[in-house]
């Protein structure tokens, strides 16, 4: 497959709001089940260990006409819950046997209860992750939460999930995370070879493909794109922050790039890069997953920073390690966690003299011109600044 073929396939998966690929995966073997999850993070290892397909649900983007979903939400609430409800009410999520709603914000939290009411025959779980990071306190609670999920899914699968199953799945996801890290590193090294509009699609494919297949896909994308030289531009290198839940339309990512920015790091698909290194396959698997979460995971707006001085460390690390020259804050309108986090991150950037720009979007934003203009001005100012 050429790089174009790979990107085309990913684009097709991205645009397929009927999740046909999930239905096909299920049909390939009787009894298979699929479990949806919402942003930001769930330990997909547990779903995988139950022999099920974890499916990332990130709203309807700009392709879906939201009719019924709007009747459930006031105008001052972000878009992702309404388009997700639309997906559910129009039967597009019928291929899912359950949904996980991680603790990210009040909107997703409340959506979990709405799902219980609207889709009574489906498995629904609000998945709480700890905001206390002591192994004996938050860790214990988290292990219990994972154990409950493990029991539930084992019941749904008709077969208990063994430690061995879990360890195998951890190994599969370690490999997947490794491939994601390779992709990020490759893009940071040669952003002209791996535009974010493509990288994004490759990552989004990970929402619907089995992890083994996704890992292969990432690696073949890197190999293929590396084999054909593309023109290098004098773009500004930026980290994009704040789009960890509701996703900007693909057109918006393209607009930022066209305006002269190379996005060298981002938080679009945090679930895939949340754990910063490998989870040990030795020892008790749930304990290992817990330790990775508590001590070696990314920072984001929905996760408490224990200490004041920790604020923005992850973002700074992204900027430094990727050689970025600035930060683009792109947050969903009405997204409390992201928008409340932003001023704190901006303070940190100010202290380190890192330039930034900020705008809001909605998943169905159609007007790209203002964003292109803003990103363009920002890229120009960075170049001027670095030339000075």
């Amino acid at each position: 497959m050429t790089v174009q073929d790979i990107v085309k396939r990913c684009e097709h998966l991205f645009e397929d709001l009927d999740f046909n690929v999930v239905s096909e995966w299920k049909a390939a073997q009787p009894g298979r089940k699929a479990i949806g999850y919402m942003p930001i993070y769930v330990p997909r290892e547990i779903v995988h260990a139950a022999g099920m397909l974890p499916v990332g649900i990130f709203g309807g983007g700009d392709q879906l006409e939201v009719i019924q979903g709007d009747a459930y939400y006031q105008s001052y609430i972000c878009r992702i819950p309404r388009s997700t409800i639309e997906l559910g009410l129009t039967g597009r999520l019928d291929c899912l046997d359950g949904m996980l709603f991680p603790s990210i914000c009040d909107v997703i939290r409340n959506l979990s209860g709405m799902w219980q009411i609207l889709f009574k025959d489906k498995y629904v779980k609000y998945f709480d992750v700890p905001q206390d990071y002591a192994d004996e306190v938050g860790g214990k609670f988290y292990i219990h939460e994972m154990q409950a999920l493990r029991t539930d899914l084992g019941r749904l699968a008709g077969k208990e999930i063994s430690d061995e199953d879990l360890k195998k799945s951890i190994a599969v996801y370690n490999e997947n995370r490794k491939a994601v890290r390779e992709l990020y590193a490759y893009r940071a090294q040669k952003p002209w070879q791996a535009p974010t509009s493509e990288v994004y699609l490759v990552l989004r494919a990970g929402c619907v493909l089995p992890p083994e297949e996704h890992t292969k896909l990432i690696r073949s994308y890197i190999a293929e794109t590396n084999s054909v030289e593309r023109p290098k531009r004098d773009n500004a290198r930026v980290v994009l922050n704040g789009s960890f839940c509701e996703q900007p339309p693909l057109g918006l990512i393209k607009s930022i790039e066209m305006a002269g920015c190379y996005v060298v790091d981002d938080d679009f698909q945090l679930c895939q890069s949340w754990l910063l290194d490998d989870v040990s396959v030795e020892g008790n698997p749930l304990e290992e997953l817990s330790k990775a979460f508590l001590h070696r995971s990314a920072q984001t707006a929905s996760k408490y920073d224990d200490k004041k001085e920790d604020k923005g460390k992850h973002l700074l690390r992204q900027v430094k390690s990727r050689g970025a020259e600035g930060v683009v804050f792109a947050m969903a309108s009405f997204c409390d966690p992201a928008l409340l986090e932003r001023p704190m991150l901006q303070d940190v950037l100010n202290k380190h003299k890192i330039p930034y720009t900020a705008f809001k979007f909605a998943e169905n934003t159609g007007q790209m011109a203002p964003i292109r203009e803003q990103a363009g001005t920002f890229a120009d100012s960075i170049k001027l600044w670095s030339a000075a």
Partner: protein, 438 residues
Amino acid sequence: MSTVTPIKDAKKKEVVKEDAMWIQKELINKNYHEIATAHETGRKVSATFVPGNLNELLMCFDFARRLPETDALQNGLRKKSGKMIMDAERDGHSEDVCTYVKTDLGMMLQGQMGPTGEPMPNPDLLLLSYTGCFTFMKWFELVRQKYNCETIMLHTPYQGDGKISPAMRDYVVKQIKEKVIPACERISGKKFDIDLLRQYMKESVKAEEDLVRVLQTAKHRPSPIDGYFGAVYYIGPMFTAFRGVPEATKFYRLLREEVEQRMREGKGPITPDGEMTEENYRLVVEGPPNWTSFRDFWKMFYEEGAVVVASTYAKVGGVYDFGFRHDPEHPIESLADYCLGCYTNLNFPQRIDMICKYIDEYQADGLLINSIKSCNSFSAGQLLILREVEKRTGKPAAFIETDLVDPRYFSGANVKNRLESYLQMIKQKRTAAAAAVA
């Protein structure tokens, strides 16, 4: 139409008994003064949130107790919040986010004058009781950047499955024992005394019992109280810095006696314009009130003879009417249960059950939702609550939109229109039902 009779010659003694507003104001002002002078008197200042607040525990360490939500609310009532919000927005905060947070940040920008005009000292402890609202975490992270004081996260898991599991309780208990108490000891310089905690809790239980009796008098026809606008004054001491304080216990005893007396006499609620003499509509309300136009908002109801017999807002600081009481025998465990059980920590099916139960037990004509722009915790999904409650009870429901403390989002004319058409609808339904029976 006026259904209100002004009270003449309201003597001070009667006001104390009849008007919870007055005594509550006294308590609040006294507390603000205590906070303002805390550092001079050698006391430390804590700040924490209303839902799941550990008031009795903080009292054990003699903290002067600030509640930033109450500060914002008070600034709203005193019409100071609008400017504070705009100042915070000018300082870089998004127009989209919770206005309680921006009121607090705006107050800091304006030199941290408290709502009563006294300067507020910086807190020595931010106790981030993380119950029922994700914004709390961002709020205290934001103020921590400015105050530079110790911040303790007390994470309360959400009742996603509609119940409190032993693991959830253990998690909260452990955090209280291993994190919160040691931090309080360290900051206050006082050793924790569990017997003192028990003693305060004994006070709490008495007051909680009386509060429930007060709220439940609204089951009577006519209701002697308004369970939303009036209840704001009743819940004030209990939900904030006064639960466990003997003065508050006394207040609730007096309040209960007075309200029960009013009930026996067949009297209606006291409103700012006097006693409500005609009860035309009995409503259940979901969602917090608007504070910047509180009086006008309330007036729209009592002018029509509409009384709120029960509200979910009166349960944000504890669902006491469903049986929860602090337990001096198991003090830490009951603090955990308290945190876990607050209204906004309940899942959607629980919230809907509660509202349906209120409609039934308080013989209400229907549900009114006041959807607050600021508050995702309350508001996200309320339209489903509306549909479900209508479906289950057969009673009409209506939806209005305002904000807590941002005057830009209170449109009096719109709210009044909506309310009037809703009350009309109730009337028509009633007439139709009566005709069907006849």
